[in-house]
C-alpha cells in the first residue's frame, strides 16, 4: 500500500481509472444524443489517463523545464498504446459521421482533464501524507459517485420521455436514436394525443386523482385521532397497540389481496371505485398513524395542558391546538399518502377489470400488450410520473420529511 502513497504513483493511477470511465460516459452520451454508435478502447483510454495523471500533478514549486521533459517522455505510454491498439474512441461503423466522433472526443477530453486536475490538487509529486493521499482518493470517488448516480437515475427517465415522442418504425430502425425532429411540431406529441383521445386516459387521470384525494382525507380522518391517543393519552395496551400498528404495516399486500379479492368477488365490490376506496385508506392508515404519533409526541405537552386548564375538553384541544401546530406534519403525511395511492398498482390491477373505472396505473398495465406500440406505453408512464414528480419537486421539503418520518415502506 505504501508504494501507492507517492504522488507520481497515485496520480497516474487515478487518471488511469478515471479516463476510461469518462470515455464510456462520452460514448453513451453521444450515442443517446445523436444515435450514432461509438466504441471506447479501454487500454488506450487508460494510458491517456495515466499520462494525464502524471502531467496533471500540481507544480508545488517544481521547475517548469524538468516537469515538461518528464511529461514529454512519459507521453510515450499513451502514444504506444494508441499505436498498438488504436485510438481511444473509434466509430463503431464506417458510416458513423465524423462530427459524432469529434463530439465524443471533446466530451472525453473536457471530462478527463479538468476533473483529474481537481482530484490531484491535494497530491504532491513525491511522497504524500496519509491525509493528502486519502483526500485525492476521496475526490476521485466523489467524482465517480456524481457521474454514476446521475447516470443511473437520469437514463431511464430520459429514455422514457424520448421514447414517448418517437414512433414505432423509428424506434425499431435505430434503438439508440433519441433525437427528436422539432420540425414535426405537435406531431411529436401524437402518442399523448392518442392516449387521451382513444385510450381514455383523461378518465384514468381523473379517477386516480380523486381516489388519491379521498384516500388522503379518509386516512387523516382515521389516523389523526388514533395517533393522538397513542401519543398523548395514558391507557393500558398503548405499547401493544403501537406495535401491532407497526406489525400490520409490515403485512405484505399480496397476502391480503387474495382474501380481499375473494370477498369482493362475492360481495360484488370488485370492479367498483367504492371497493378501492374501502381498501386504499386501510393500507395507508398504519403508516400515517405511525408518522403522526411520532410528530405529536414531539409537540410540547404544556400548550395542550394550558388549553385543558382553560376549560377546553380533549377534542377541542386536538382541534384548536394540536392540529394547527401539526400542520406541517399533516402536509407531509398527506403528500406521502397521496403518493402511495397514486402509485398503487397491485390492488387496482387485481380488483378492476372495467376500463371505465381504471386508475392510471391500471390503465398503463392495460397498455402492456403486443398490439399497443411501446411509445404509447412510455407516454402513459410519463403521464403517470409527471404529476407526482411536479408535486414532489414543488413540495420537496415536506416530501423529504414525510419520507423520513414515514419510515421504510416499500
Amino acid at each position: 500500500m505504501h508504494v501507492l502513497r507517492y504522488g507520481y504513483v497515485a496520480g497516474p493511477l487515478i487518471g488511469a481509472f478515471w479516463a476510461p470511465v469518462m470515455a464510456i460516459v462520452a460514448c453513451i452520451t453521444v450515442s443517446f444524443l445523436t444515435g450514432e454508435g461509438l466504441r471506447p478502447t479501454l487500454i488506450p483510454c487508460a494510458a491517456l489517463g495515466f499520462w494525464l495523471g502524471y502531467a496533471g500533478l500540481p507544480a508545488r514549486g517544481r521547475e517548469l523545464a524538468p516537469r515538461l521533459v518528464r511529461a514529454g517522455l512519459l507521453a510515450v505510454v499513451p502514444a504506444l498504446a494508441i499505436l498498438l491498439l488504436g485510438s481511444a474512441i473509434v466509430p463503431a461503423a464506417d458510416a458513423t459521421p465524423v462530427h459524432a466522433v469529434a463530439l465524443a472526443w471533446v466530451i472525453f477530453v473536457l471530462a478527463s482533464v479538468w476533473p483529474v486536475r481537481a482530484m490531484l490538487r491535494p497530491l504532491p509529486h513525491g511522497r504524500a501524507t496519509r491525509h493528502e493521499f486519502e483526500e485525492a482518493v476521496i475526490r476521485f470517488l466523489t467524482g465517480f459517485g456524481y457521474v454514476f448516480f446521475t447516470a443511473i437515475v437520469a437514463v431511464p427517465f430520459y429514455v422514457m420521455v424520448m421514447t414517448s415522442l418517437k414512433n414505432q418504425s423509428e424506434l425499431l430502425q435505430n434503438p439508440l436514436d433519441f433525437t427528436i425532429d422539432l420540425s414535426k411540431g405537435w406531431e411529436l406529441l401524437r402518442s399523448y394525443q392518442e392516449l387521451f383521445a382513444d385510450f381514455n386516459f383523461g378518465s384514468y387521470l381523473w379517477t386516480s386523482f380523486y381516489i388519491s384525494v379521498i384516500t388522503v382525507l379518509l386516512t387523516l380522518l382515521f389516523s389523526v385521532p388514533g395517533a393522538y391517543a397513542v401519543a398523548r393519552l395514558r391507557f393500558k395496551g398503548q405499547k401493544a397497540f403501537s406495535r401491532s400498528i407497526l406489525l400490520i404495516y409490515m403485512v405484505p399486500m399480496i397476502v391480503l389481496a387474495l382474501p380481499i379479492y375473494i370477498a369482493f368477488s362475492m360481495a360484488g365490490l370488485r370492479n367498483t371505485v367504492i371497493g378501492i376506496l374501502l381498501i386504499y385508506p386501510v393500507t395507508t392508515i398504519p403508516v400515517a398513524l405511525y408518522m403522526l404519533q411520532g410528530y405529536f409526541r414531539g409537540l410540547p405537552a404544556e400548550v395542550e395542558e394550558a388549553g385543558l386548564m382553560d376549560g377546553l375538553n380533549r377534542l377541542q384541544v386536538i382541534w384548536k391546538i394540536t392540529l394547527p401546530l401539526a400542520l406541517p406534519a399533516l402536509a407531509s403525511v398527506s403528500l406521502y399518502v397521496f403518493m402511495i395511492a397514486w402509485n398503487e398498482f397491485l390492488l387496482a390491477f387485481m380488483l378492476l377489470d372495467d376500463p371505465s373505472k381504471f386508475t392510471l396505473t391500471r390503465g398503463i398495465a392495460s397498455l402492456d400488450s403486443s398490439e399497443v406500440p411501446r411509445q404509447h406505453l412510455m407516454a402513459g408512464a410519463v403521464i403517470s410520473t409527471v404529476p407526482i414528480m411536479t408535486l414532489f419537486l414543488g413540495l420537496e421539503r415536506f416530501m423529504t420529511k414525510g419520507l423520513t418520518a414515514g419510515s421504510v415502506k416499500g
Binding site: 446521475t150 391480503l256 398503463i364
Partner: protein, 413 residues
C-alpha cells in the same frame, strides 16, 4: 385491586384517568374497527382458505340455473322449464322451482312433481347431480294473443331454491395445498430466489444508499437539486419505471443492448429479463436502483445530525478522512443502518409489484410473493396461493420478532 401498600403511587386509577382511558379507546375505535375488517379478517380468511381444496372457479357456489320458454302451439302448447346445475362436479340439494302463470293462460296438465295453488306453480325437483339437467313441462291453454302470452310467460322470472355445498364455508379441510407447495424442487427454487433477492436487494440498497448519502453530506450549490433527482426512482410510480426498464433492456430493440453491441462489449444481444440466472440478478439490481433513495435519505438525515465538534477534535488529532469515517462516522450510523436493514429486509421480502412487472416471475425470478399470485391466478388454485401466503405470514412473524427485539435496543426511528 385495592391499594395494599402505604407508600408509592396509588395503584387504582382515578375517575379522571378513567375518562382518559375511555377517550383513548373511543379515539382508537374507528381505526381498530376498519383495520380489523380489512386486515385481520382477511388474515384469518387466508388461514381458512389455505386448508381448502378451492380453485378460482369455485368462488361462485354451485346452484340451479333455469331457462323458461313457451313451446308448441294449440294442443301442444306448454311452458318448459329447463333446469341445470351450474357446477359440473358438485351436487345441489333441495332444488325447488316456483313461478306465476300470467293472466290469459290456464294450466291444463302439470308435471307430477308440481302442484298449483291459485296462479302459482310450485315444483319440487330434489337433488341435481353435478352437471345434471332436467326439464319440467306445464301444458297450458292460451286464450287470446299467443305472442303477448309468450312475452308475459317469459317475463315472469321463475324463482329457484337449492344449494350445493359451498366449498368455502363447509368443514372439509385438506393438507393438499401445503403438500403441493412444499413439494419438490420448485419450492426450494422459489425460496432460493426469495433469499437471493431479499439479501442482495437489501444490502445493495443500503450500501449504494450509504455511498449516495456521503456524496451529498456536504454543502455545495445544486445539492438540493441532486437530492431531488436521486429520489426520483423511489417517487415515480413503479409501473412507469418498471416498464421503462423493460423497454430499455429489451432483448431485440432495447437501447442498452444496441449500445453494448455498438460499443463492442457483446456480440449477441442479451435477454436481460429472460435468461437464468441473469433475470434474478437484474430484478435485484432494479430493486437496489429503486430503493437506494430511501436508505440514502435516512442515512443522510442521521449524518446531518452528527455533531461536527467530534470531527474537529479528530482533525486536531490528525485523523485521516478514512479514519474519521471508519472510527467516528460509521459507528454513529450503525443504529440507523441496522434498523434500515431489518425494515428493508422485511419490505424486500414482501415485494411483489416490481418482479411481477419486470419478469412476471419467469426465468427463475419467482419469489414467494409472486408465487402467491402465480398459484392463485395463473394456475387458478386459490388454496395453494393461500398456503404460500400463510408461509409468508409466518416468515413475517419471525422477522417482526427479530425486529422488535432489535428495535427495543436501538433508539426508535
Amino acid at each position: 385491586m385495592g391499594d395494599t401498600g402505604t407508600s408509592g403511587p396509588p395503584r387504582t386509577i382515578g375517575p379522571l384517568q378513567k375518562r382518559e382511558v375511555r377517550l383513548a379507546w373511543s379515539l382508537l375505535f374507528p381505526t381498530i374497527a376498519i383495520v380489523s375488517a380489512v386486515v385481520v379478517l382477511p388474515l384469518l380468511a387466508i388461514f381458512w382458505i389455505s386448508f381448502k381444496p378451492i380453485g378460482l372457479a369455485d368462488l361462485r357456489p354451485p346452484g340451479p340455473v333455469v331457462r323458461e320458454a313457451l313451446r308448441g302451439a294449440g294442443e301442444e302448447a306448454r311452458i318448459e322449464y329447463r333446469v341445470r346445475n351450474s357446477s359440473q362436479s358438485e351436487a345441489i340439494n333441495g332444488v325447488t322451482l316456483s313461478d306465476v302463470v300470467p293472466d290469459g293462460v290456464t294450466v291444463r296438465e302439470l308435471d307430477e312433481r308440481c302442484e298449483i295453488s291459485g296462479l302459482r306453480i310450485n315444483c319440487v325437483i330434489g337433488e341435481l347431480e353435478g352437471g345434471a339437467r332436467d326439464r319440467i313441462s306445464v301444458f297450458v291453454t292460451i286464450r287470446g294473443d299467443e305472442a303477448a302470452a309468450e312475452a308475459a310467460i317469459e317475463d315472469s322470472e321463475p324463482a329457484m331454491t337449492g344449494s350445493g355445498k359451498n366449498i368455502l364455508t363447509n368443514l372439509e379441510f385438506t393438507l393438499a395445498n401445503f403438500a403441493k407447495i412444499f413439494d419438490g424442487k420448485e419450492f426450494w427454487g422459489v425460496l432460493g430466489a426469495t433469499l437471493f433477492y431479499t439479501v442482495f436487494g437489501t444490502v445493495g440498497a443500503l450500501v449504494v444508499g450509504l455511498f449516495a448519502a456521503m456524496l451529498l453530506n456536504r454543502e455545495f450549490r445544486g445539492q438540493g437539486v441532486l437530492r431531488g433527482l436521486y429520489l426520483f426512482p423511489y417517487v415515480a410510480p413503479v409501473i412507469a419505471v418498471a416498464f421503462a426498464w423493460v423497454i430499455l433492456l429489451d432483448p431485440f430493440s432495447g437501447s442498452v443492448n444496441e449500445l453494448l453491441v455498438q460499443m463492442g462489449v457483446v456480440d449477441e444481444k442479451i435477454n436481460f429479463f429472460g435468461d437464468r440466472p441473469l433475470a434474478l440478478i437484474m430484478v435485484t439490481v432494479f430493486e437496489i436502483w429503486r430503493y437506494f433513495p430511501l436508505s440514502f435519505l435516512f442515512i443522510l438525515a442521521r449524518m446531518q445530525s452528527i455533531d461536527s465538534d467530534m470531527y474537529e477534535a479528530a482533525d486536531m488529532d490528525g485523523a485521516s478522512p478514512f479514519q474519521k469515517f471508519w472510527y467516528l462516522g460509521l459507528p454513529q450510523l450503525l443504529g440507523i443502518l441496522s434498523v434500515l436493514f431489518l425494515l428493508r429486509f422485511i419490505w424486500t421480502f414482501n415485494k411483489f409489484d416490481d418482479i411481477f412487472l419486470l419478469t412476471g416471475g419467469n426465468a427463475g425470478t419467482r419469489t414467494l410473493t409472486v408465487n402467491v399470485y402465480e398459484q392463485a391466478f395463473a394456475v387458478s388454485n386459490i388454496g395453494a396461493g393461500a398456503a404460500v401466503a400463510v408461509v409468508i405470514f409466518f416468515c413475517l412473524l419471525l422477522f417482526a420478532y427479530v425486529f422488535f427485539r432489535t428495535m427495543s435496543q436501538e433508539e426508535g426511528l
